[in-house]
Amino acid sequence: MISNARLLNVAPSLLEVRGLVKHFPIAKNSLFSREMAVVHAVDNVSFDIRKGETLGLVGESGCGKSTTSRLVVRLLDPTAGSIHYDGEDIASLSASKLRTRRKDFQIIFQDPYSSLNPRMRVNELLSEPMAIAGFRSAERDSRVYELLDMVGLARRHASRFPHEFSGGQRQRIGIARALALRPKFVVCDEPVSALDVSVQAQIVNLLKDLQAEMGLTYLFVAHDLSVVRHISDRVAVMYLGKIVEMAAKSSLFSDPLHPYTKALISAVPHARPRSPSKAAPLKGDVPSPITPPSGCRFHTRCPLAVERCRLEEPVLRDVGTQSVACHLV
């Protein structure tokens, strides 16, 4: 398999995200209050994904990684910002234009149990996107078989219902459906989190094989840092709606710069016997995204925080080959 890492410095960007913002309005405190509060789910996020690479997106629950993944395929409409896909801003496309454009970018969901319609057979699940995209019936049938071969399912599976499959097999169906229209860019939103450990590896390997065969570009969202390290070329770390660090995976994991990245990596228990990690675990919980802390959003939990962190928001800037948003780096 060709390493994608080699392409990194030459390949042009397929996706350019600039100043992406998503705020969800919610009713404030009281059930009957008219006053509205805002969940700052994604706040001014910018990144590029180059052709053929995998960008890993990690962070704890509520950090905005899933919202980001849904925004870049326009399953959610951004509050502000642009998403240039292959030169065209999809953030401002009309619904009808978006429908024709959408065959190029697809998403694989986390839960293979709830993301497949239980009343549809596999061949219906796989041909539906093709029918919408205007494929002819004969074309659809042959493509269904092609897809089943591609994801390692048997052709006889085409007439079965989702409940007849295991979690891993269902995720293969989810992958086949995402690939039905030959997309160039695929968002993988926690694709292996719901699977058994022994099945995870099968799906991760499949995703890597498909990428090599079809030249796919991935945004791989996960909370499992080990899996992200394995599959990504570059990794972005999010905290409370912001990217706090972004770097090639080799430097991010060996030399994390942001205190949050460091804490996150040291919190992962090693699946090898060794002395328990010496780094003190991070104190407290992620603050509420409704009233995010002032200045650096991490300062309330940061062991190194100084006065400036409370007052002034750090910007994401380049330090060597890495990008980091911290006053102290």
Partner: protein, 337 residues
């Protein structure tokens, strides 16, 4: 299973079946045997449907009605829990043996304050006054690291984060000073930084209070971080049991080996992950012979015959696989048990 320390809990040959109509039953646990020594942490690891949670529920006699213990003993401090009456069991449960569950979101009662829920256990088991129980509950909340426990005790579960709720669950379990704590996937629903906090807390409590712990998880990282001994389960049977270090240094069973090689590590790059082919068999569809043989790279005709027994291969290291059965090994390799 050759442990120098006195076993607090000793499970012998436990088999459980799912009762179905017309007398028949589907086996869900088969000949499960293990010991937990005083002050020890036993990790039970395995994938969905392997019977690890059922093992925990059997110990507490909390199995669903459809599940029937068909044989075996569960000796806790020498007496068989399976022979206790329901009222005797109620005195043991939540008192000597406590359990924390995976979902801190759903295992607390949403319409009662956390204080009321902790108090309930203390008052039931210790017949003490409300005031004394409340004082004790606040102390316990303090021990598990809830900030300003005298105020948070009157919070409802929804006012707390996932990590806080799991701390409350642990406080409830600890309020009666149990000798054995069973933790079923206590950190699975939590973020990794919160997981680290909870594991740190459990480690500290175990050292301070000297209780034994059974931790059930599918995460080998949590096991290696926290457990003294590990038991690997697959399709209702124990396939390997040893000290944690031994298991990671030298996994014997092909399933354990495959499981270890199939997980990516945070501090290492590999080109391709090792995979275990096939899928975990569903209940009632367990294959004949060794349950793992259809997925096993080493499987031979012998594996389709009898189910291999769990036997000692090295001191403190048992495995259920024909490759390690005494008759197939030269004498010199066999360690005395």
């Amino acid at each position: 299973m050759t442990n120098k320390k006195k076993p607090l809990l000793s499970v012998r040959d436990l088999s459980v079946s799912l009762a179905i109509s017309r007398g028949g039953g589907i086996p869900i646990l088969e000949s499960v045997s293990f010991d937990v020594a005083e002050g020890d942490v036993l990790g039970i690891v395995g994938e969905s449907g392997c019977g690890k949670s059922l093992t925990a529920l059997s110990i507490l006699r909390l199995l669903p009605k459809s599940a029937v213990v068909t044989s075996g003993q569960i000796l806790f401090q020498g007496s068989d829990l399976l022979h206790k009456s329901e009222s005797e069991m109620r005195a043991t449960r939540g008192n000597d043996i406590a359990m924390i569950f995976q979902e801190p979101m759903t295992s607390l009662n949403p319409v009662l304050t956390v204080g009321e829920q902790i108090l309930e256990a203390i008052i039931y088991h210790e017949r003490t006054t409300r005031l004394a129980a409340r004082k004790r509950a606040i102390e316990t909340l303090d021990i598990v690291g809830i900030p300003s426990p005298d105020r948070r005790i009157d919070d409802y579960p929804h006012q707390m984060s996932g990590g806080m709720r799991q701390r409350v669950m642990i406080a409830m379990a600890l309020a009666t000073n149990p000798k054995l704590l069973i933790a079923d996937e206590p950190t699975t629903a939590l973020d990794v930084t919160v997981q680290a906090q909870i594991l740190e807390l459990l480690r500290k409590l175990r050292a301070d209070l000297g209780m034994s712990v059974i931790i059930i998880t599918h995460d080998l990282g949590v096991i290696s971080d926290f457990a003294d001994r590990v038991m690997v389960m697959y399709s209702g049977r124990v396939v390997e049991e040893s000290t944690t270090r031994d298991l990671f240094d030298r996994p014997l069973h092909p399933y354990t080996e495959g499981l270890m090689r199939s997980i990516p590590h945070i501090d290492e790059d590999v080109a391709r992950l090792h995979t275990i082919e096939g899928i975990v068999p569903s209940l009632g569809e367990w294959p004949q012979g060794c349950r793992f043989h259809p997925r096993c790279p080493y499987s031979t005709a012998a594996c389709k015959g009898a189910v291999p027994e769990l036997v000692g291969y090295a001191p403190d290291h048992s495995v259920a696989c024909v490759r390690y059965e005494p008759s197939k090994q030269p004498r010199s390799q066999l360690a005395s048990r």
